[in-house]
């Protein structure tokens, strides 16, 4: 069964198209990663699913129903920006939100305690939200979304405004949430996040899902390194091949899969012994990154070869993207200012 079904969904703001025929299926029980740059329409898509916005055209079904309000209680939502009612303590806030979700009495207390514990908030449960770090606030965001034990979780850029440590914390927490088995639709522009958490990814670009793939088909052993050389003599090539089955080489490129520091040192020493000039040594690009870039560049080429109206739309998207980026910068500076205060 598909938990989310979108057919040719269009949405524009004041005549500026943001989504231009998005079709998407998210089967039950998977984690679907929606990848795309800022301003691609990821938040718009999530707000359409939540019923905050209405599509100009197209059909949205959740749990097989066209009436999105019927499924309110089955959906948890983690918003993009860390904007919560921060005058409450964590426990009070979760208690109120649980009330709005229809929980009460002992059930409400049990659910609040369970999520505080599961999301690692026990030590800050009685602190005001305004005194928490961004990483902790995002943990509260995840806890509130899970409070009513939803069947579907919509997560919008969960680590976008966090420092690396906070990002790691939230990714670990989401990995734990993933094990609970609920369906997750996660919008992100971080490829590592998608790689670690998602079963399937779709790339939202130019207002459409331009490519989809199961992440298992994109997996490659981690820690590959590519060494580019000026020119490799045959003797060096045969010596390298004999060194380890992890070494694959051609005239200008040597790939170490999987790479280890010892193997890398051996290969570099051998190349230098044979007088080979090493041009670069770099980790191999991530398969999801390759997939993303190939999809986006392929789409860009198609866009360039298409007619003038498409270019005009692209121009309007740039205006919107610019505006969204401006708002984001403004929000970041506001957040910093309020943090400072």
């Amino acid at each position: 069964m598909d938990v989310i079904e979108l057919d040719e969904v269009h949405k524009s703001y004041d005549g500026i198209p943001v989504l231009r025929g998005v079709s998407l299926r998210v089967p039950q029980g998977i984690v679907y990663g929606m990848l795309g740059p800022h301003g691609a329409g990821k938040t718009t898509l999530i707000h359409l699913l939540l019923g905050f916005l209405r599509p100009d055209r197209g059909v949205i079904r959740m749990f097989g129903s066209n009436n999105l309000h019927q499924v309110d209680g089955r959906v948890g939502y983690v918003p993009e920006r860390l904007r919560y009612h921060n005058r409450y303590t964590v426990r009070e806030y979760l208690w109120y939100l649980g009330r709005f979700s229809g929980l009460s009495g002992a059930t409400l207390r049990r659910r609040v305690d369970a999520e505080i514990s599961a999301c690692g908030l026990t030590s800050v449960a009685n602190r005001p939200m305004s005194a928490l770090s961004r990483g902790m606030v995002q943990r509260v965001g995840i806890a509130q979304a899970l409070l009513s034990e939803p069947d579907l979780l919509l997560i919008d850029e969960p680590t976008a405004s966090l420092d690396p440590e906070g990002q790691q914390d939230v990714i670990e927490l989401l990995a734990a949430v993933r094990r609970r088995g609920c369906t997750i639709l996660m919008a992100t522009h971080f490829l590592d996040e998608a790689d670690l958490l998602c079963d399937r990814i779709g790339i939202l670009h130019g207002g459409r899902i331009i490519a989809e793939a199961d992440t298992c088909t994109l997996q490659r052993p981690a820690g590959s390194v590519v060494i580019t050389v000026a020119d490799m003599p045959a003797a060096a090539k045969s010596a390298l091949t004999a060194l380890s089955p992890a070494v694959q080489c051609n005239r200008h490129e040597i790939t170490l899969t999987p790479n280890t520091p010892e193997l890398q040192a051996q290969v570099v020493r051998l190349l230098l012994d044979h007088g080979v000039t090493i041009m670069t040594l770099a980790p191999q690009r991530h398969p999801i990154e390759e997939f993303y870039l190939a999809a986006v560049s392929g789409h860009a080429k198609r866009d360039r070869s298409s007619e003038a109206p498409t270019s005009r739309l692209q121009g309007s998207e740039d205006v919107l993207l610019h505006e969204l980026l401006r708002q984001e910068e403004q929000q970041t500076s506001e957040d910093q200012r309020s943090k400072h205060l």
Binding site: H47, L50, F52, L53, R54, H69, D72, G73, V75, G76, Y77, P79, R81, R83, Y84, H85, R87, Y88, Y96, L97, R99, F100, S101, G102, S104, G141, Q144, S148
Partner: protein, 253 residues
């Protein structure tokens, strides 16, 4: 969970946040100043008419501030988290509205208590106080409902402007009159008069409500004025809830 319970909890949530924000200090300070200036014991005793007319006007001003502040709390992105639950849009808006009423009516209660303890109105018994208070509180409810309707999250900008223009037209009698009116072509003057009469009809309960609050005279048709006020409140709220339910939600900020 039924809608009434959800509305109640969202009102409590909003009120709790408003109190924690400290903005209630503005209402408390304004009430203290108003008490000092208008209601404390001066040389001559205060009459009930003076009390209800002054309190009625002061509370209207205070409700504009309270309404704007509390409704602004609902019009910000944190609201998405609340609305993504089973809360529903109707209980969301009504919760904000009830929080405005709680503060506004609470402040009126505070004024009444201060007056009762420090400068009691000898010629006003409890029944008289109730008779003057009911239309006054209904007028505050009416103003709060009007403010809820004019919130950006409820009505789009052109509609808000249109509503304000209609209200301005209804009030234009005190602005366009005498020489200006007589200089207009007769057909325009008649049309303007007709429009004023039609548009001022919905405002009638508010004005007569204020008059009854001051006089506490419910004789004749005046007895139906509080009922008219109540219906107007319900009508405005129904329109606001309907409009909010139909709108796309894009919170400010």
């Amino acid at each position: 969970m039924n809608a009434l319970v959800r509305t109640f909890w969202f009102a409590v949530f909003t009120l709790d946040e408003y109190l924690r924000s400290g903005r209630i200090m503005v209402e408390l300070a304004a009430t203290a100043v108003a008490y000092y200036l208008f209601f404390r014991r001066w040389t001559t005793p205060m009459t009930p008419d003076y009390f209800f007319s002054t309190a009625g006007l002061f509370m209207l001003g205070l409700t504009v501030y309270t309404g704007s502040s509390i409704l602004a709390l609902g019009d910000r992105p944190a609201g998405y988290v609340a609305l993504a639950r089973r809360l529903g849009r109707g209980p969301y808006l009504m919760g904000l509205y009830l929080a405005v009423l709680a503060v506004s009516w609470g402040m009126y209660g505070a004024v009444c208590l201060l007056v009762a303890f420090t400068n009691p109105l000898r010629s006003l018994d409890f029944i008289g106080w109730v008779l003057g208070t009911i239309p006054l509180l209904l007028n505050l409810a009416l103003l709060a409902a009007f403010l809820a309707l004019l919130t950006p999250m409820v009505l789009p900008a052109p509609w808000r402007l249109a509503v304000l223009a209609l209200v301005a037209l209804a009030f234009s009698g005190s602005l366009i009159g005498g020489a200006t009116m007589s200089s207009l072509p007769e057909s325009v003057a008649i049309a303007l008069d007709v429009m004023r009469t039609i548009l001022s009809a919905p405002l009638l309960p508010a004005f007569t409500g204020f008059a009854i609050s001051v006089s506490r005279d419910y004789s004749g048709a005046s007895a139906v004025v509080p009922v008219a006020q109540l219906f107007l409140v319900i009508g405005l709220l129904a329109f606001a809830v309907y409009s909010f339910a139909k709108r796309e939600i894009v919170f400010s900020g």
